[in-house]
Every structure is written in C-alpha cells, then in structure tokens.
C-alpha cells in the first residue's frame, strides 16, 4: 500500500517530479504535492465536480483518477487559466454576472466551462445546460453561472470569428 513510485506530472505547463503511493488520487497530488489548492475536494465520488481539471483538454474529475494515471498528460487547473494579470473571459464573466458566492465550486465550473469553450465553442444552449449540470453549486442557484458561461461563449465566438 505504502510503496511509493516516481511520477512526473505536467500541471499548467510546469513539471512536478513526485514520489507518491500509487493509490494517491490526482486531486490529492495536485493539492498536497504540487501545492495547487485551487482544485477542491467536494465529494470524492465524482458527483459534485468541484475537483474538475482538464486532462489533455478534457474535463475530468481529479478525485476519480490516480495521480500515476496522469503521467505524460497535460493537466490544467484553475491556477493556469488567467494570463498573468489578465483574467480568462470565463473568470471575468463570473464576476460580472455574480456567478460566485462562496467560490468553492467555482474552479470546477471554470475548468468544466473552459473545456467546453475550447472543444465545442459552437455548442447549442441545451447541450451547454446539459454539460454544466454535471457540476453542483449550493449557493448561487446557477443563474449567475449560466449567464456568465453564455456571455463568455458569445465573447469567445466573437473573438475567434
């Protein structure tokens, strides 16, 4: 159980050489070993989505993946979203549309939405709502989050057209 193995994680373009137990989740490795605590633990069984990160561009639950499984993949977390002082359109939109209250679910929603934005910018509204319903928020009633993601997608499309 406690036998450790060497693994190198690429998180936000930076390499983290780690020595950890194979049973350690990607979530715990990102938080405790890499020190990137923006990714949150909400349920540890893949329902709430607070731990959503991008692995090779796809949103995944970091609580359901072992760190060793992520070796060689490009992992992106909320800390990598902004470009220096310039916030990502999704981050700006969440502030503008009051999509944040306690902020605990926020990084997971951001990474889920970033995955959608980058992979399916032409997504239909119904599919968007379906995709966003895979994460839980307990504070906002979702209204601000939906408004923000819609606005960011519109901005993204306008910018890339």
């Amino acid at each position: 159980m406690s036998e450790r193995t060497d693994v190198t994680l690429n998180v936000n373009g930076r390499f983290y050489p780690l020595r950890l137990e194979p049973r350690r989740t990607l979530l715990d490795a990102i938080r405790d070993e890499c020190g990137l605590t923006g990714t949150h633990m909400g349920c540890e069984h893949g329902v709430c989505g607070a731990c959503t990160v991008l692995v090779d561009g796809a949103p995944i639950r970091a609580c359901l993946m072992f760190a060793v499984q992520a070796e060689g993949a490009m992992i992106r977390t909320v800390e990598g979203l902004a470009n220096g002082d310039r916030l990502h359109p999704l981050q700006r939109a969440l502030i503008a549309h009051h999509g944040v209250q306690c902020g605990f679910c926020t990084p997971g929603f951001l990474m889920l939405a970033a995955g959608i934005l980058e992979r399916e910018p032409e997504i239909g509204d119904d599919e968007l709502l379906e995709a966003l319903s895979s994460n839980l928020c307990r504070c906002t009633g979702y209204q601000g989050i939906v408004a923000a993601v819609r606005a960011a997608i519109a901005e993204w499309r306008a910018g890339s057209s």
Binding site: V47, L87, I95, C137, C139, Y142, G144
Partner: protein, 795 residues
Amino acid sequence: MSADPNTSAGPVLGRSLPRLEDPPLVRGRGRFVGDISFPHQLHMRVVRSPYAHARLRAIDVAAALGAPGVVAVWTAADIADLPAIDFRDPAAEALRPYRQPLLAEERLRYVGEPAAAVFATDPYLAEDAADLVAIEADELPPVLDAAAPPGRFAEGLSTSQGLSTSQGLSTEAVEMHGGYGEVEAAFASAHAIVALDLEIGRHSGVPLEPRGALAYWDASRDVLELYGAAKVPHRNRDALARMFGRAAAAVVLKEGNTGGGFGVRGELYPEDFLVCLAALRLERPVKWIEDRRENLMAANHSRQQRHLVRVAVDAEGHVLALDDELYLDQGAYVRTHGARVLEMTIGMLPGPYHIPAYRAVGHFRLTNKTPAATYRAPGRYEGSFVRERLLDAVADRLGLDRIEVRRRNLIAKREMPFSRPLSALGTEIVYDSGDYALLLDKALAQIGWDALQTELKRRRAAGELVGAGLGIFVDKGGLGPADGARVTVDTTGAVELVTGGSNVGQGFATAMAQICADALGVDYRRVRVVYGQTDRIQYGIGAHASRASVMTGGATHAATLKLREKALDMAASLLQAAPGELNIEDGVVVHRGRPGGPSIALGEIARHLAPDSPVLGDRDPGLCAEGWFRTSHMTYPYGVQIAVVRVDGDTGQAAVERYLCAYDIGRAINPMLVEGQLVGGIVQGLGGALYEEFRYDERGEPLSVTFADYLMPTLREVPPIEILLTEDAPSPLNPLGIKSAGEGGITPVGAVIAAAIDDALTLPGAITRLPATPQRIKALLRAAAQRARPVAAEG
C-alpha cells in the same frame, strides 16, 4: 443581474457593484481550511458508530495504534476530563443531559457518531488505521419516529425536571408551549374547522465544502489557534476557552474562505474540540477534513417536523384560531442551539396573517438519527409550509379564491408596527414595517396572475398536469443586541474596516465596504474588510440568522461617521475652514461649492494625526474610530412567491417551469447580492421541496450518504428565477432602513411548490408531505384514479 462595471462614480450604497471577494476566488487563490497546512501536522480521522443505537462494550484500538504513521488513538476514556458540548446560549436546564459528548461514552446513538479518533502523520494512513479500530457493542432497538410515544433516552438519570430514576430520562427533552387568546372558544364558535396532518422531511444545508478544522498550539505564546472557523467565531472562541479552561485571549479563531454556511457550517461539533485538544496534548498541529459521507451523516441535519394542526374560520374565511401540535425530530443529541428551532417554528408560524387566537404545543424529541439544528430559515420553512397549506385548505373548504382568503387575513400597513405575544430567538415579535397587500398586488401583476390562470386552465384542458402555487411569508433578521466595528485610514489613504462578522459566501466584505465607502466618501475598493479574526476585535456577532447587514452594517456605519467627523475636524484646521463647509469626495477632503479650491487627501490627514505630529493638538492619535449599533428588536422582511409546476403523469416528476419571488428588503445595500441570496435560497428550497431527504431504514441505517442518494438540484432542475425586489417598507429600526436577505428566499418554497403541485394535479390539499418525490406524486395519482373508478368495477 450583472454587476455595474462603472464602479467609481455615483452613490455607493444601493448599487450592484462587483464583489471584492471574487478576483482571488476565480483564480483559485481562495484559502479554505483544507488549503492550509502546517509543518509537522497530524491528520485526524474519526471512527464513527456503525450502529443507530447500541450499548457500547469496548473499543479495541490496539491494532490501530500499531499501524504505520499513527501517533495516538483516543476513545472517550482518554478524554474523560472533558464535559459534553455546551449550548451557545443559556438553555433550559432540562436539555443538559441530552448534550453530545466529544466521543461516545456508554451508548452509541446514531450511525456516524464519533466513537474514536485516530491521529497519524498522513491522512491516508489515518484512514487506514481507523479501519482497524474495532467497536464491540450490543445493538438496541432504535427510536426513529418522533411522533410515536416517547421512549427512554437513558436509564437511572434523575434530572431537574424531577423524573424519577426508575422512569429514566424521556426521549422528549422538552414540551414547549406558545400562544395567546381564547383558542377553545374560537373553535367552539367556528363556521368551519380544517385539520391537517403535515410533514416536512429531514434535509439540511449541505455546503459544498465539507467541514474541516486545523488547530495549532503556539507554545511560545501559549495561544491555541483554530483555522476553519465560520459563522460565529467569537461565540465559538468563548465556548472553546470555557471547555479548555483557557483565557479567551489564549484561543484565537481564524476564518478564511468558507465554502457555504447555511447555518450548518461554523457550529461547534465534536471534531472541532477534538482537533484543538489534540493540538494541545500531542503538541503538534492537527488537521481534520471530513469526507462527504461523514458530512452527510455527522454535520447537522434539520427540518424534520410533523404538525397536527387545526384552524377555525368564519364563513368569510377569516381565521379565528390556530391550534398546532408539532413534533420535532431532533436526532440523537441536542447540539449548540438547544431548542431554538422549535421556538422559532412556534414564534414565526402565524406569518403575515391575523391569527386572533393561537396555541402551539411543540414536542422536542430525541431519535437515533444524526442530530439536527438550524438550516437557513429554521422553523420558517417548516412553519410557512404549515400555514400556507392551511390557507389553501380553507379556501378549498369554503369555495373561496385562495388569493382572496389571504387578502382577508393579511395584517394591514396601518397596523404596523404589529406585535404578537410570541417570541423568537428570545425576543418579542414586533413586525417593524410592511405593506403585505401592496407586495401581493405587485407580485400578481408581475407574473400576470389572471392571464396565467387562463393559460393553465387551457393547458390542463389539453391534458397537461400543470398548475400554480402561491405563498406569502414574513421572515426575520437583524437580531441584536449590539455589534461593533473599527475603521482606520492609513497614510496612503487605504481604509481598514475591522468587524466581528463572518463571510460565508454571501458577499459580506463587499456589502460592508459599500456602507463604509458611502458614509466616508471613498472608492469601496479602497476598503479592506476584516472578518472572523477573534484577535482583531473583542466582540463579534458573526453571520447567522440574517443579522450581518443590519448589525455589523449598522456598526460600520456608526464607526465610519465618527471617523468622517474626525477627518473633517482635522481637515478644517489644516485648510482653515469650518468642518461644515467640507466634504469628502473619492478620498479627498474638498471645500463644498469651491471646485479647485484647497483640498487634502485622507492619507495626508492620517499623517497629520500621527502620534508625533506637530499639529495633533489635543486629539487622540490616528485616523480611526470605533462604532456600535444596538437594537432590541428584529427586522421583518416579507415576500410573496409564485411557482408554476408541471407534473409528468408517467413518472410523477414535478418540474418547475417558472418561479417569481417578490421581496421587500427595506433597503438594499447591493441589489445584485440580495438577488443572489434570494435565488440561492429558493433553489435550496426547491431541493427540500422536491428532492432532498435524509432517509433511514428500519434499523436506523442512513440511506442518504452520497450525492447519488442525497439529491441536490443541478441546473437542469432549476428554472429561470424572477426576482421583484422592492423597498416599500424600510426598517425604522436602523438608520439605513436595512432588513435582511439571507433567508427570505428559502422560507416559503415548500409551501409554494406544494400548492402548485396540488393545482397541477387538480387535487386540492394532496401534498401533505415534503419532499414531493416522484414516488409520492405517483401514489397520489394512483389513489385519485382508484377513487375515480366506479366501486362496482372493483368487485
């Protein structure tokens, strides 16, 4: 509503300015308790009872003690010198025997009860070792129905209630009475009596961030620090200091970011005491982060009540009297609130209506479930369900329109302030202001009630199960008695506002910064708001029962006005003007009506107020001031909510199509934040009305211990929610006219949804139990179909 991008011009109060809290949160720079670590820290894992009710024989910790990384394993015997967890406020002596010990002693009373604590160098190793702890116990039959005749909580205990030792201690901890007027006489002379048997399910706040605590004992200063505080850090500091026999100043609570409060988080639980005790005794920092399963079986539950209620009315539908016997399922122990939820249920149940005579008998009963306490709008979600169900039933019985019945019973504007001989949170109930009929009119106009009825009728005729429900409610907030704040401007002009408040996600810092900035005349972004740090300010009222805006806001306002006066006094002397001729604009003192005249920045004034300043004179040094706000009564915001619900006849699933919340806030500090609070509350209310329930099997085994079983609304279940925010009835109790926003959204949701489902099914009074799950709605539809069938067909 989106935030006002133009943040520097115009008045600051009453504007939807962006939150100061957001920039770090959207960058993942929040500092939640799980994000904090100390070198050399230990991790606690709690071993929990697998039994709902059992006599504890032994706990074998030998194997766990020998496991890798384990430093200590505690059972009750190891901490026998510590008492049970006390009540926050003075509570009836009769409740004391029902308090929860830090670790189970002779009995295990619910699945999830802490029985042992493992301390190890790594959280994984702590969990491994916890699995090796063996609990030996003899199972006892569990008590699972609070409305059944009371059983025995413990044998051989005599209490101040005078129960004899042979009877033991009853599972009915308290029978509470409330009311006034001649109830019997009113029922005797009534035109009609309507009786209902209503149940509200067991559900709770369930913040997305699990509970956590990190205790650190600084031996050099002999100070115990606890990270992960929330809600009421100062009150909790006092409770911890009492428990450990320490001076209050030798215990420091530190609140960082908090992942949702809702009444549940920030209460003192056994685990909070255990990490503190372990930090003191093991002399290492100790961290504990619960997992979701623990959260669902160990953090406070709430709500579960059954009401056997009757109302007497005259022929016009005027309520003559209300008689309620209610049973509150408290779970296994009485926690920090004592019997407050029961008191609030009784005190707030009459709501916005004239109830000439009222009698409530509340049974506060212990069962073998997770202990219960407050969840957003405690007592009012339950009471509003009961009251509004009754009004709907009266309308149905008398063949009257349900809106008309409500109108006939509403308390009128001219009767304000309106007092009732009842109490809630220990204060007399006096509605401070309100125009309930006006808000009802506005809500009906906003949703287009008459056109909506026509449309729903048409859709029902076409075979759809669709209907509308309405509820009116009064909420409460702003309970005193007093709160203070301290504001300081430094030599750069930066403002620091130190409060004893708590920021559990509601935007407290932004709201306080707006009040301060507005009163002082600075950009609200220059105000740094301190909250939840017990070593920064002596007292703090915290964030509970919707009181932060009124109390800490009032204190902030008072402190800032004093600081402003001091600034203008100094500026007047420096600019050789009269203070009355001066004003503060964007952090600079200017001469009113003399644009371009002499001016001086606040930072500069602060420099002239330094202790060594040659122009200080007799003034106290520093550009700072402390202010207090005091009040003896609560504020009473009110609202009207309307829902349109469609039921799927095949699955029994109710879907909310439309939702309107009309709410009079008195005065909004930041309308965007108010709307956020209302919408968030409504969606939680939908959870309790339709989906969320802590269920137990017949052995007391909890069945809702994952998010796959405890179903919270996702955005798929949530319709667009319309908010009609009004400011028709500012509170006369504070200078800003503020009421409160935290709990009004959730208060009537159960009632409104139940009424809408009744209407959709064309079965008046059908919904008597929340949550209205698909199974329950299907059962109602089946029963209705059965009744509709001719009797002969059955034979």
